[in-house]
Subunit: 156 residues, 2 copies
């Protein structure tokens, strides 16, 4: 198993994992691909950064994070995703720890995690609780009517 | 007095107001100019949107807001700024109400306001409290060491 910065040839596997996990909208899945293209153009540590989780060179999950604009301390975790065939195998936790390391290496100390209160995001919420994140805010009807924002933070 | 969408010729007055108010960093002031250029390119209601507060065609303040990506309900208030010579005259409140109207017109119902806990932002915090905003989160050391995030929300 390896977790390290994604390479250009992994674009299709990453978008596919996002699609197959079944919780993201088409707009969100399209955004994953667009951010991946930005990542390939950006310098490391700026803009968007992708990490891949691989077993035998097969991508089983990915994470995307970036420094929060106009802050020195914060980074946003945009996506963390395990392919459906790899759920329950610690993919999320391994990716999360790799993001922590990357954020620390970038000289930042706070990870902001935007997630949904909907039932299908329960495993994500459990991951954030297990990895020492704090629930800093709950904002009702943020994503849509009946779809609340849960803002978790992880202090490094 | 008028408050309405900014016009291209107001760019210099807007950047100047941001500079003269004395609380923003050079990076933040440069960002105001860049977002204004994006605003001139974008369709109304998408991306970044600027509103100017004018007396006798003189720009005495501005606000910048935009729909929050990947949400149906939320909008971010990025900047609200009264020129130093116009402080205490209700410029901030007038701009804030114009943002509320614009967000409502865009079919959104929640304004997210990111501000700093530093003393020089006290008048901004007072404005948000007066206009019915709720303090949804306080995140220590977000902007920098000793510079906390105060996340206010306004539900329309």
């Amino acid at each position: 198993m390896t977790v390290s910065p994604s390479v250009p040839s992994e674009r299709a596997a990453i978008v596919s994992a996002a699609r197959r996990v079944g919780v993201f909208t088409e707009e969100e899945i399209r955004t994953v691909g667009e951010l991946f293209d930005d990542y390939l153009r950006d310098a490391v540590g700026t803009g968007y950064n992708f990490l891949s989780y691989r077993v035998d060179n097969q991508v089983l999950g990915f994470a995307c994070w970036g420094p929060t604009d106009l802050t020195r301390g914060a980074a946003d975790l945009y996506w963390i995703c395990a392919a459906p065939e790899a759920q329950g195998q610690g993919v999320g936790a391994a990716l999360f720890h790799a993001v922590e390391e990357a954020v620390r290496s970038a000289g930042r100390w706070l990870i902001m995690i935007w997630t949904s209160g909907k039932p299908e995001y329960e495993s994500a919420r459990k991951l954030y609780e297990r990895t020492g994140c704090e629930l800093s805010a709950r904002v009702a009807d943020f994503f849509d009517h009946g779809d609340d924002l849960l803002l978790f933070t992880r202090r490094l």
